[in-house]
């Protein structure tokens, strides 16, 4: 590939930010969630994380080799994808299905479109949805928290599918319920989100507007806003998935439109579709709309006379 830089006129701005450092920060931010899911779902969760991360890194390496491009596993983006994918799966899923997910995420969504920065949707989310559509029964088998302490694994409803009053807010915050590996412990996700904002890896606009819109929409459709925010993949999606640089708008107003769209769609899908969860579909849809949103919110060029009145 042509690595020539296109240089514009000065002034130039230089910073120490590298892809590798950003990805490392995301991994650090995901650590509390990963540890929490290992505590809640046991050793099996750790194995699944290992399988997904190793699968993604190896597939990225071989895909780049076969396509005769330079190796990019050093930027750690494949590790992040693998980690996010694992956190989006139920804990007792067959590792071979998880590997198929890695193949979709890395080879199909990322490398076939040109590698890092070129993926048209979030790779981990696309893989999750392909798995959800392909293996619906395996992807919706939720085991309750601390299932490994009992004699047999039994399935349990997630907070979104369960009857009202089954889970308290404390249960939701600590993750004492069934669900995808990474979505259960809300407190750990929030901790990671705060770290990312402090390190300036993500701007708080997308998560805040996304969650705010979702809360407002819950009121509109008559659901409990706090319960909706803390259950399902909403927090994980808002903080780690919707904020992906490649697939979210650059401008601040673009980010607001994008996040509002995510929030509205999520609650609409949760309330009116035949699926209990809508976070992944809504983020994926807004990912695809991102180029259009950027076209809409393109800032005016300096030095041109504004047409009409000030907005």
């Amino acid at each position: 590939m042509d690595q020539k830089l296109y240089v514009s006129s000065s002034p130039h701005f230089r910073s120490n930010t590298t892809t590798r450092r950003i990805m490392l920060d995301v991994i650090i931010a995901l650590l509390p969630t990963t540890i929490a899911s290992c505590v809640i779902f046991g050793f099996r969760a750790l194995i699944l994380v290992g399988v997904c991360v190793a699968g993604c890194v190896l597939m990225e390496y071989f895909a780049r080799k076969i396509m005769k491009r330079d190796t990019t596993i050093g930027d750690l983006s494949a590790v992040v994808t693998g980690l996010l994918l694992a956190l989006n799966l139920p804990v007792d899923i067959n590792p071979l299905i998880a590997l198929f997910g890695c193949l979709v995420a890395i080879v199909v969504v990322k490398q076939m479109f040109g590698g890092i920065g070129m993926n048209f949707v979030n790779p981990a989310l696309a893989a999750r949805i392909v798995l959800l559509v392909s293996f619906p029964s395996a992807m919706m088998r939720w085991v309750p928290a601390f299932w490994y302490q009992g004699a047999d694994a039994v399935t349990a409803a997630t907070p979104l599918a369960a009857e009202k009053g089954t889970f308290s807010y404390i249960d939701l915050l600590l993750g004492l319920h069934g669900g995808s590996m990474g979505e259960v412990c809300a407190a750990a996700i929030l901790l990671g989100g705060v770290y990312l904002v402090i390190r300036k890896v993500i701007s708080p606009i997308i998560p805040c507007v996304y969650l705010g819109t979702a809360a407002l929409m819950s009121l509109v459709v008559g659901a409990d806003p706090l319960y909706q925010l803390l259950s399902g993949g909403l927090l994980l999606g808002a903080i780690f998935m919707a904020t992906d640089y490649t697939t979210s708008p650059v401008t601040n107003w673009g980010k607001v439109i994008y996040a509002v769209g995510c929030g509205v769609l999520t609650i609409l899908l949760r309330s009116f579709s035949n699926m209990p969860e809508g976070v992944s579909f809504s983020i994926l849809l807004m990912n695809i709309l991102t180029p259009l949103i950027e076209l809409l919110t393109r800032p005016r060029t300096l030095g041109f006379v504004k047409k009409g009145a000030k907005k």
Binding site: K4, Y6, S8, S9, F100, V108, V130, V133, S134, F135, P136, T301
Partner: protein, 227 residues
């Protein structure tokens, strides 16, 4: 146009000018009916039969049909043959008829058939037109069969109803899987033809405010093209 051998007229439709994978015609039936190998074969044979007959008749009538109303004339001829084929399929293979559903009568507006009538049969004698129709039909059927086998094998774990794989990846039966397999097959056909994907004509510097003063070769070309 140089005179080409009859053998060439027959074989060009199979790989070099494959109607589905190289000319990208008839994608609607291609994506819709290839959920199983047997459906794909049924669709391929039905379309081939119509294509060969309509090519022959249109070629024979090419000096009679007035130029201004040629498309309605072609459609009428094609529709006649589609009606015949549909009645035959209904009589001899009701299962295929049910599986193909609306896509069987829709062969009337299949762009491969109309395309060959317009591009080839209306300008060439009967025999080459028939061979052209057979070649294109075989190419269409082969492409559909490839897609049908891949999608049925991965999506239901079987081929022609014979169970081969212990697992199913449902997405291959669904529309997204159809588009995915279609893309992969086009890629393979392009590789077989030794064609490299043509680079987009638009310059990467289009819209760049620095294009006029930028020393990069791309930009100079871009500016030239823009002028």
């Amino acid at each position: 146009m140089a005179k080409r051998s009859l053998w060439y007229e027959f074989t060009k439709g199979i790989i070099k000018e494959n109607p589905v994978l190289c000319l990208v015609l008839g994608t609607c039936p291609t994506l819709a009916v290839t959920t199983s190998a047997s459906n794909a074969i049924g669709m391929g044979i039905a379309a081939t039969a119509v294509l060969v007959c309509s090519n022959a008749v249109i070629s024979a009538l090419r000096k009679v049909i007035p130029d201004k109303v040629r498309i309605p004339a072609y459609i009428t001829i094609i529709a006649g043959f589609v009606t015949v084929v549909q009645m035959l399929v209904k009589a001899f293979s009701p299962a295929i008829n049910d599986a193909l559903g609306i896509y069987l009568p829709l062969i009337v507006v299949n762009c491969i058939i109309l395309g060959r009538a317009e591009m080839y049969a209306s300008k060439n004698p009967v025999l080459p037109s028939i061979l052209d129709g057979i070649g294109m039909g075989v190419g269409f059927t082969a492409a559909l069969l490839c897609m049908g086998i891949i999608r049925e094998l991965l999506g239901s774990g079987s081929v022609f109803g014979v169970q081969l794989l212990p697992f199913k990846i449902l997405i291959f039966i669904l529309p997204p899987g159809g588009f995915f397999v279609f893309g992969i097959l086009i890629m393979i056909a392009n590789a077989l033809n030794g064609k490299k994907g043509k680079k987009a004509a638009a310059s990467p510097c289009e819209g760049c405010p620095m294009a006029n003063s930028c020393a990069d070769k791309h930009c100079e070309e871009g500016v030239k093209n823009a002028d």
